[in-house]
Point group: C2
Chain length 412, copies 2
């Protein structure tokens, strides 16, 4: 896309009213726009990143048999009363609203209740199990404080997956598959080196649940890392396990700040029982369906990437989720650059083409701020040197590439 | 996908609590699930249709320079007070809610206000114009009655596009491009033959706006068709034009029931003025930005297709938006059918493979209900006849195709 046509402009200064780095950088770069604390719009550059994260998650969840749906936001209180999650005194993140006839409704904060209820029509026998169902849908959460940019939102998309099983053994097997899929997701999104499988409290029924925590000084959580096992423990359980690694007994744990980028949880019959989701087993005995749930917030993941992968000049996007693969800067050489833009586009390379009438300094500053992985400069100087200048965002040195080779160099 | 693995089941009977054909058929076929009047979940088959409609719209709008965004649902009342659309007495479709500190918020019913306001940061000069910006985002509308299935929802996705221009001439040019894009969308989605460009009231500033109305007895609107010009007039303006075609003066207009599947509207400065969206023209004079807005609801389009394209046995999906291209029915021949399924899948043909343990009658009934364009039957009989039996959903006669030719026959 031509940058002269992109409707967003970068800002000279980061917005003063944002405390978090991720919101400051993303607003300054034109990725997002703030509507109010915890509520942001996604602009073309930001939506491209978000859609790439969503595509990675979708591919991994489809790969382990997930079936995609799209459940409604508006919620009937009756369902949530059955699981004791309607009363604000018990579950205090609801945004509530009303129909014209004064019937109270809620905006979904999560979707265990409606999906469990819906499956009562579709699961009746052990032959209908197991099933894995997910969607990407907006969640609304009435957070008291929302000041961490994309890391704590009042309105955000969540990929929430739910699995349904005949027994705990089958749930346990699927849970391991989901753990592996989550590990792939964080690795593919560029956060693998910072993300730790973290033991958390399992609630009433399970010994542990698991969070995926990414190390960042902007995180609201504290975790305790065992470097040997590459796992961590969260603050909830650290006392219970006497400050020792649950895997190897190591007591030299490292305390770090982190943010939860995903979680997986064995719900067992917590929702199936009150909502009446049962099945007939092979002997014709009615049993509660055994469930698991698995969440990732693509926007929080995006915010975490920005918090952890940047330098003083701006964002450094991992290749897999960058808004474009290449940022082509024309320094008064639009005709020559246009030819390269056309060649790269024809080869399927996603290029942002800075054809604007700006100084070299302004273009370089914007390229660093926006953080596209490959910067290609076409200038008098590069042409004299035999082609174009290519520099990776996370490297210092540029190199000259002959114009005829640029497609081969950039093509994945 | 194997139908034995699909989590949804068809129902023997259509739900008794639905008045509209589209909701009855879509629920019976397992495409959607009703949460409450006007609020539905999209299940795997339904989401596939919805995503295909969205993809067609996206392609057409990108084709005329649309830049995709994703604006938030939660709305700040201050913005809407400036355009006099916050007060329920004036604009009565809001769902309103509150932050914990009692600040009132709304759920977006449309997005003129936030987008116009956002563009104040990005448009300052005539050089920044024109721009065309859109998103697919949920709208919430507190409808008093919602009993037409997907044709009048309280929660629905809308593709709303907004264009921004330096003057009316430029708006008029772009408006014609959008008209052409809309015509393509309805044609590609299979409704071209039923959809009429319909003249509607233009409000204060324009002579006419345009609706795209699709003929259906389930529609809530009445339109007056001129068969010569292939346009229509809506009820609002029929008196003003003295029951004559605005194009050719024909007074033999045909009255029909229809549903509005899209609309395009010249807003001019209706929102830019109160919200202060201005630009400097070439002479350095500050002027109001001139706007247009353009809406389509993909779910309403889906509901309209079901209303208009079905027979007594079920839905007849147009090929471009069908959940799958082929429905492969194995009548006790799963091994032979599996081979065909693998071949078609490898060739990129989307196939729903009915490998369930059901009678032929049950499988045929489900295939007709679900309405996939090509039905392929593998049975003792078809194998004896030399291959598989292929029947199009909208044709009566099946024909035998040699197994080796099936990929060639089905590939688009």
């Amino acid at each position: 896309m031509k940058q002269s046509e992109l409707f967003t402009k970068t800002l000279r200064e980061a917005p003063a009213d944002e405390q978090s780095y991720n919101a400051r950088a993303l607003i300054q770069g034109g990725f997002i726009n703030k509507e109010m604390a915890g509520v942001y719009d996604f602009l073309p550059l930001g939506l491209r990143v978000l859609n790439k994260i969503i595509a990675i998650i979708r591919e991994e969840i489809n790969g382990i048999g997930g079936q995609e749906t799209f459940l409604a936001s508006l919620q009937n209180p009756e369902l949530w009363k059955k699981t004791n999650r309607w009363d604000d005194a018990v579950y205090d993140v609801w945004f509530k609203t009303k129909l014209k006839n004064d019937t109270e409704l809620g905006l979904a904060t999560t979707h265990e209740e409606p999906l469990t209820n819906l499956l009562r029509r579709h699961i009746s026998s052990y032959k209908d199990l197991p099933k894995s169902i997910y969607h990407f849908q907006t969640k609304f959460r009435n957070e008291t404080r929302a000041k961490s940019g994309l890391m704590r939102l009042r309105e955000f998309i969540m990929k929430d997956a739910y699995s349904f099983h005949a027994d705990e053994e089958d749930l346990n097997d699927y849970y391991e598959k989901m753990k592996a899929a989550y590990t792939n997701i964080f690795k593919r999104a560029g956060l693998g080196h910072l993300t730790y499988l973290t033991f958390a409290s399992g609630g009433t029924f399970s010994k542990y649940s698991h969070e995926f925590q990414a190390l960042t000084s902007a995180g609201e959580d504290i975790i305790y890392i065992c470097e040997k096992c590459r796992v961590a423990l969260n603050r909830e359980i650290i006392e219970d396990v006497q400050h020792k690694c649950t895997e190897c007994g190591n007591d030299k744990l490292k305390e770090e700040k982190a943010v939860e980028v995903g979680n997986i949880f064995k719900l067992k019959t917590k929702y199936s029982r009150p909502l009446g989701l049962v099945f007939m087993d092979e002997e014709g005995v009615s049993k509660d369906v055994v469930m698991g749930c698995y969440g990732i917030g693509p926007q929080r993941l995006m915010g975490t990437v920005v918090e952890t992968l940047h330098d003083e000049k701006g964002i450094i996007w991992p290749e897999a989720i960058a808004p474009f693969r290449a940022h082509l800067l024309s320094l008064n050489k639009n005709d020559e650059a246009k030819k390269i833009y056309d060649d790269l586009s024809a080869a399927g390379v996603e290029v942002l083409f800075d054809d604007r009438e700006l100084t070299a300094g302004e273009k370089f500053a914007d390229a660093d701020l926006i953080g596209i992985p490959y910067r290609i400069v076409v200038s008098e100087k590069s042409i004299k040197a035999g082609g174009v200048e290519v520099k990776k965002r996370n490297e210092k040195e540029a190199k000259i590439v002959e114009t005829k080779d640029i497609v081969a160099v950039l093509k994945q």
